[in-house]
């Protein structure tokens, strides 16, 4: 009986410790982080055919502006949107 209680207690302690460690997992990226990852644009390789021209033009245009990507602009907007400044409540002496 004594042994059983010790074993149960140890299992309980271990389980709680493990769940505590799980809470210490690296935080997800905060919304304030700026993600500067560049996206890669796929440029078709090989002989170009007429029906591919339009797609290729868009790819060329996008690769022409790869210094800034749509994803980066979207991320900036998302971050700005979360900029909040909350006022504090007061304590009236009335």
């Amino acid at each position: 009986m004594k042994k059983k209680i010790c074993v149960v207690g140890l299992v309980l302690l271990f389980g709680l410790f493990a769940s505590g460690c799980a809470d210490q997992q690296p935080q997800e990226k905060t919304t304030q982080e700026i993600d500067h990852e560049d996206t890669e644009t796929d440029i078709p390789v090989g002989t170009e055919t007429p029906h591919q021209d339009e797609a290729n033009e868009n790819d060329y245009a996008e690769s022409n502006v790869t210094s800034v990507t749509q994803e980066e602009l979207d991320k900036l907007k998302e971050d700005i949107g979360k900029l909040e400044a909350d006022d504090l409540g007061g304590l009236s002496g009335d």
Partner: protein, 260 residues
């Protein structure tokens, strides 16, 4: 002996569960807890105000006691609000990887100092037994309330300014890069116009963030710290609008460039 062993195991388990629960509190949870506490504090103040009005009309002993009881609840609720706000601010700073370490440390120290003061104030509130004592403690609390908040509010303002500055830097970087690309294009008037508008918005955002910073630095005692904090927040909200407008113009310029 057996019983003691069991009791010790359960105590250890309870202690571990508490530490797990605290570590599980995220910044957003803490922020919500503060908002809830703020709402409760506001409600308690209204109830107390009503009790005083009722007592003014009928000075019965029952109404007198209600003033004291609601007054104590108001003070405890205000302390709960401050405590929740300090905990949130500490976590907010801790969870932000972009903040400089010295700013995080300053906030952490200021929070710890003020959390300790809250416990002392709770004791004062619990000791109130009549209207006179309530009035004295209330006056003390109004001053202490500001003391509890001022340093961390000023620190928070510095955080907001730091974060806003990083977004301004990013917007400037994007504007500059897009402009270099746009200037190589023919018939780029529409694109350049959008980029000029974005640049103008960014300049305006910078001005407002500087104004916000100036207000936050005036969140001190003696003075009007909550008013200055609110003023800083207002400038920051305008800066946010400027940045969103800048982003909109950058995005339009980008899309025009894609169509070329």
């Amino acid at each position: 002996m057996m019983r003691k062993t069991v009791i010790v195991f359960f105590l250890i388990a309870i202690l571990l569960m508490q530490s797990v629960a605290v570590s599980a509190l995220t910044e957003s949870d803490a922020k919500q807890a503060w908002k809830d506490a703020k709402q409760v504090s506001k409600e308690k103040q209204e109830i107390h105000r009503d009790a005083k009005i009722k007592f003014a009309g009928d000075k019965s002993e029952e109404n007198r006691q209600e003033v004291v009881d609601t007054g104590k609840e108001t003070l405890h609720a205000a302390l709960d609000e401050v405590e929740a706000w300090l905990i949130w601010k500490d976590l907010e700073a801790e969870e932000n990887p972009d903040l400089p370490d010295d700013l995080k440390e300053t906030i952490s120290e200021d929070v710890d100092t003020n959390l300790a003061k809250i416990d002392e104030l709770r004791t004062d509130v619990d000791g109130v037994s009549n209207q006179l004592e309530l009035g004295i403690v209330f006056l003390k609390m109004v001053g202490k309330y500001l003391e509890l908040l001022t340093d961390v509010a000023r620190d928070s303002g510095r955080i907001y300014v730091h974060i806003a500055d990083t977004y301004i830097d990013t917007a400037e970087e994007y504007e500059s890069k897009l402009r270099v690309e746009a200037e190589k294009m023919d018939n780029n008037d529409a694109i350049i116009e959008k980029l000029d508008m974005a640049k103008s918005d960014i300049i305006e955002a910078k001005r407002n963030v500087n104004q916000a910073e100036s207000s936050y630095e005036q969140v001190v005692l003696p003075g009007t710290p909550l008013i200055k904090f609110s003023e800083g927040n207002n400038y920051l909200r305008v800066a946010k609008t400027n940045l969103l407008s800048a982003h909109s113009n950058l995005n339009q310029a980008y899309n025009l460039m894609l169509k070329r």
